[in-house]
Amino acid sequence: MTNHWVDIKNTDLILVMGGNAAEAHPCGFKWATEAMEHRKAKLIVVDPRFTRSAALADFYAPIRAGTDIAFLGGVINYLLANGKIHKDYVKAYTNASFLIREEYKHEDGLFSGYNAEKRSYDKASWAYEMGADGYAVVDETLEHPRSVYQLMKAHFSRYTPEMVERICGTPKDKFLKVAEMLGSTSTPDRVGTVLYALGWTQHSHGSENIRTMAMIQLLLGNMGRPGGGVNALRGHANVQGITDQCAYTEVLPGYLSAPTDADENRQKYIEARTPKTLRPNQMNFGQNFAKWHTSQQKAWWGDAATKDNDFAFDYLPKRDGAYDILAIFERMYQGKINGFISQGFNPLAALPNKKKVSAAMSKLKFLVVIEPLRTETSEFWKNFGDENNVKSEDIKTEVIRLPACCFAEDPGTFTNSGRVIQWHWAAAEPPGEGKVDREIIGTLFTKLRAMYAKDGGKAPDPIQKLTWGYINPNHPTAEEILREINGRALVDVVDAKDPTKVLVKAGEQMPGFGLLQADGSTACGNWIYSGVWPQAGNLSMRRDTSDPGNMGNNLMWGFAWPANRRVLYNRANADLAGKPWDPTRPGIRWTGTAWAGIDIPDIAPALGPDSGAGPFIMTGEGVARLFAPGMAEGPFPEHYEPFETPIGTNPLHPKVVSNPAARVFKGDMESFGKSDEFPYVGTTYRLTEHFHFWTKNVQSNAVTQPSPFVEISETLAKMKGIKNGDMVKVRSNRGELKAAAVVTKRIADLECDGKKVYTVGIPIHWGFVGVAKTGYLANNLTPYVADANSQTPEFKAFLVNIEKA
């Protein structure tokens, strides 16, 4: 979330789209109901289904799964055409005025620089025109035909209300009503928010879904403001924490991009990742990259990371290709991976195309599953009848289960969607032989290190020299790790202007990332968390509810990254002179000498309005990007159909149907189905009664939602002779499942591009282990293709057929 949970109460308008906040985040959704009760806020829900969020909405509009960019692009067109934008904000705080190079173009669904063979773009032309002074050229009038503003206007002019209706199936009047309601927040005294989740991410164009909404919030002047922002509601209690600490190979903790084969040495690596300042007097905070990265290397390898060995840069693995989870399982499927350690992860249930995932795991020599409970993954080799019809005798994979514990049996931190890091205490001991995960990994590590010491091996240094100064090396405590993540001074850190003044004494905890150094004098495991455990102690344990300003910022509750800041980009809450756009809803303001207020300013405290420094300090230009050259499939969002499309074409450009930059592995294109055989849109989702695949192990959850079902409209049921409660079989080109049919008015029949489109809704929560009634994994059906930027699988829109079982 750019804002945070409690801040939702400060809004005037809530859009729930690409998510189902009431159902998937019931506790956080209370802040939406608070805004509705106390601020008279309105709630809009746009979704293929009339969800439990829609049950409370002031306005609901249906949409075909996988067409959000067309809808939101239509909103952008509406806002621009009707002057419903916050113009002062857009001019000063976005790159609307920047000129784009002449070579840039977009034609029929393809941007300049496309390479069809590689399915990727050369982005050289997606760049600002640079002036002789070394800075990007801007046109304050926004009139220049190559200004981002004009290019954007032209780009989205194709997204007319008629086109929205044709692609999305949303009736024109309903679409216009939503656009009008969103447009009402373009004035400085009104602010709107958006709550989204996997309904936007799980598409082959997921990142662009969110980007389109971010553009809308920028045009409306709703970013950085209390009650505004673009708010990702995270699924697990600590999924924000694992993203921050980084359970992937593509980035290092704190979102530092991980090195690749192309990064020959530290200098080249750091140069490539340090953004250039693109406009005068901008903070360009990313220029501190070397400080964050060097401090991380010092946290990891301590004295072994020296200036002479490039701060152990070569101890880091260098990627020779993609290592996202789909790429890993593709390698496994090709027999290129021998062993897999699965910790806190149920890939058989969580990844698309179960058949492929099962075949991939069958090629492993060993699979280690670290879980508190049996999972479908740990039992993948067992035959469970039709629900997991494998031949155990053909699977040679040795499966080792290491009993772990549940979160309530282990202390540590959770980081919530609002970036607030909160300590939690263990409520019980792990039962039986269960151990906390840190002990399992710690013991595994010390054994590996001993084996390297005894037997040697290729590249032993990264393991042998890893900092491992825990009191019990086999069982690091959560406190030890959080202190290490926060970082400490290795030698005295002195004031750059007055070297006699010691700011942090050697050995003391760092007060925050502001004093991290690039010369190896500080260690910090993750720069964005720096400040959570300063010399004063563990701030994630704070539970002080005081709330000056009554805006719900609660600065003394836990610790929010970065720097305990509760609303990101909060400089944009104030106008060019530093006065809040809405004085009744203040965030920070310029006092005449400094930025101050009820939040931690997201700008250097002394960098006043006269400096010209923009509020979006993480960009080299200091402003937010309406034109974003970093995206894989284009600097402006464009509607692409899901890889399995029910209409078989793209009404905007029939030759470019689906995302041209999304990766498709060999053999997977053939596994996609066509609408003649699989005419209905399948979409997967979660129910409030269950949590992923965990709570099917809990009786009280199972009582409230006992057995698998799929949802279809009354029309489709009639066409197929299906009665409410009948068992049905749902097939895709990759597999099938059986479940009870829930025949409902809540799934709208749509008309898209002259075709009737029917949706089959598929809740995911059942599998072949647990106390609830068993069932088929929903991912028997889903396609092995993902978002071009984040590689999040396309679980939300694919093709199926349905019949009475």
Binding site: A22, E23, P26, C27, F29, K30, T33, M36, E37, K40, F50, R52, S53, A54, A55, L56, D58, Y60, T688, E689, Q699, S700, N701, A702, V703, T704, Q705, P706, S707, P708, F709, K723, N724, G725, D726, A739, A740, A741, V742, V743, T744, K745, R746, V771, A772, K773
Partner: protein, 288 residues
């Protein structure tokens, strides 16, 4: 502890204690316009009251368990409503005992002290006194009590009288994530309800209102309804609930017989105990 003063006791003629100052009656207010149907209240009810219903099967609806049972004292009822303009509403009602001011169950109950009404308005089943006759079901205008197969006694929501007695709110209220279920003095709940009704009217629900049916003297569980003119939309919530005339008849004419019958029943039970020993539950039937 004064909330445990019994104001009314089934099949009993002795008068209620009157020394302590009567506490203001309590009420639970269920605001359907704030309810997201998450069923957290169902789970909280199960956990506080040590109930675990059977794991059923989906038969085509979100209502699970399908109905109130001896193990499920509250369930969510989901109703899909088509509107004239082609749009729809999904009305979700938490069903359970309404704790009537004039409780039909208590009136109908022939077992002395099996049903009581406390001074704060809570209607409670005192299970050890229940003889399993099922008259409370006949007496209830909301079809709430359920007889258990296990011990042949009637069960229903107690409004967490054990919690309320020590100053806690009912488990469902405590757990409700959106504050759709509120608990407090009935007067305060009526005030809050009126405020919510105003908000709903502003949002276009012209007929919003508080459901506190007078046919049973008002209730200690009330609803805020978007369509108070049509309670039947909410999974057949009765429009004008009243205690069945048969119950009144039973209370009026058959009352003298009641004392005799109850006496006979007690004597019968005594002799049964002497000759056969205590009743044992047939565990085999409920095994597994």
């Amino acid at each position: 502890m004064q909330s445990l003063d019994i104001q009314n006791r089934s099949a009993t003629t002795t008068s209620a204690p009157q020394v302590r100052q009567a506490e203001s009656p309590v009420a639970k207010l269920i605001d359907i316009s704030k309810c997201i149907g998450c069923k957290a209240c169902q789970v909280a009810c199960m956990q506080w009251n040590d109930l675990r219903d059977d794991i059923g099967t989906n038969v085509g609806v979100y209502d699970n368990p399908m109905d109130l049972t001896d193990q499920s004292w509250t369930v969510m009822r989901f109703s899909e409503i088509s509107k004239a303009d082609g749009s729809m509403e999904w009305l979700i009602r938490k069903d359970g005992c309404m704790h009537c001011e004039d409780p039909g169950c208590l009136k109908a109950c022939p077992a002395p002290g099996a049903i009581v009404k406390y001074a704060n308005g809570i209607v409670d089943f005192i299970s050890e006194n229940c003889i399993g006759c099922g008259y409370c079901i006949a007496g209830c205008p909301f079809n709430i009590p359920r007889i258990s197969d296990k011990d042949n006694k009637a069960y229903k929501c107690s409004l967490c009288s054990d919690r309320v007695n020590v100053g806690l709110v009912p488990a469902c209220v405590k757990t409700c994530p959106t504050g759709a279920i509120q608990f407090g003095a009935k007067e305060d709940m009526l005030f809050r309800g009126a405020k919510r009704v105003n908000d709903l009217k502003e949002r276009g629900f012209q007929n919003a209102g508080v459901y506190n049916p007078q046919g049973v003297g008002g209730t200690h569980v009330m609803y805020v309804l978007q369509h108070a003119d049509k309670p039947e939309l909410y999974h057949n919530l009765p429009t004008d609930p009243k205690i069945s005339p048969w119950v009144s008849l039973w209370k009026g004419i058959a009352k003298p017989l009641l004392a005799l019958a109850a006496g006979v029943a007690v004597l019968g039970a005594f002799f049964h105990y002497i000759t056969r020993g205590p009743k044992e539950v047939d565990d085999a039937k409920h095994g597994g």
